[in-house]
């Protein structure tokens, strides 16, 4: 195995782990959150709790998809 593949595999295992859906769900939510933050004229006090709630929701969704396929 080449060094690049070993390093790539190491970081994949480290960052993504057993279930890629969780890493993907977090990444998609944060990218969407970045667009919301960038487009909001002023960050209201609702924004942080709303983004937190979105992260909780996508975790539940990823877990339900995972469990239904078991």
């Amino acid at each position: 195995m080449s060094l690049v593949r070993i390093v790539g595999r190491f970081w994949w295992d480290f960052l993504v782990g057993d279930d890629w859906k969780i890493a993907a769900a977090v990444a998609v939510t944060l990218v969407a959150g970045a667009f919301v933050v960038a487009s909001a004229s002023a960050a209201g006090s609702w924004l942080a709790p709303a983004l937190g709630a979105a992260l909780l929701t996508v975790f539940v969704a990823a877990l339900v998809v995972d469990v239904r396929r078991r």
Binding site: L15, D18, V26, A27, G33, V37, A48, G52, A62, L63
Partner: protein, 268 residues
């Protein structure tokens, strides 16, 4: 820098100690398996080189983080990593508690590692058993990088990285001493419970920091503010506890409901 109050100090020490303890136990199991079945010299050399590499990684990452990144970008990067680790741990803990995944067992992990070590071929490099060296290095480095991120996050959040590093170092010393005395995996540690607690801590801190760090995208680049600032961490922790307990009770029924659909999709 002003020291935190004593309860916050103990809280930070306890959090970094617990989170790091679990990582050190896993690294110890791998090194013990390689040492007992292949070569102690090669296993210890792999673990020692991993510690040196980790020190270098921490120095470079620490320099880059402190000097190149604004606070909000740092929060976003580290928070995202913590959130992904934390949710992975939480997912496994929920599945284990719900009976959908086998409980983690260090004795079983030791047996699996030892069996793989026995089956692996002989290859000598630089006078070392290469399999034992590489597996020990990789295991120690992988678990160690997680400890580094935990220390950086908890330490920066509490404005006391040295204290957070002290908590992790104490956990490492306890695990090393116990391993040296027992010469076997630390199977009596309530690892599944500890992993659940650590998953909750990492998920709470990760959510808090990743969301604050999204402020890097607003005009001025200042961190977003949670209502109540650091107090909202406790609210987040309570919400993650409640949600995980709810999921532990709900997922067995969800799995049963999804089984016919999964079987049909496999048959088609």
């Amino acid at each position: 820098m002003e020291r935190m109050g004593s309860s916050a100090t103990w809280g930070l020490l306890g959090a970094t100690f617990t989170a790091s303890f679990v990582e050190f136990v896993e690294a110890l199991t791998i090194v013990l398996a390689m040492g007992a079945t292949r070569s102690w010299r090669s296993a210890l050399a792999g673990a020692a080189l991993a510690v040196v590499a980790l020190a270098g990684f921490t120095a470079v990452a620490g320099y880059a983080l402190v000097n190149w990144l604004p606070r909000s970008a740092l929060q976003l990067g580290i928070g995202t990593l913590l959130l992904i680790f934390g949710l992975q741990w939480l997912r496994k803990s929920i599945l284990r508690a719900a009976g959908l995944k086998a409980l983690h067992d260090e004795e079983e992990e030791f047996r699996a590692q030892a069996e793989a070590a026995r089956r692996a071929g002989e290859q000598q490099r630089f006078g070392l058993d290469w399999f034992a060296f590489v597996v020990s290095f990789k295991g120690t480095f992988l678990e160690g990088v997680e400890v580094v991120f935990i220390v950086i996050t908890f330490g920066l959040n509490a404005h006391d990285v040295p204290l957070a590093a002290g908590g992790a170092a104490a956990a490492g010393a306890v695990v090393l001493a116990a391993g040296a005395i027992a010469h076997r995996p630390l199977a009596r540690v309530p690892e599944n419970t500890l992993k659940y607690v650590v998953g909750l801590l990492l998920s709470s801190f990760g959510t808090f920091w990743a969301v604050e760090g999204l402020g890097v995208f607003q005009a001025g680049g200042e961190s977003l503010r949670w209502p109540g600032d650091n107090w909202s961490l406790l609210v987040l922790l309570a919400v993650w506890v409640a949600l995980s307990q709810l999921l532990i009770r709900a997922v067995p029924a969800i799995a049963r409901a999804g089984r016919p659909a999964a079987l049909a999709s496999e048959a088609s």
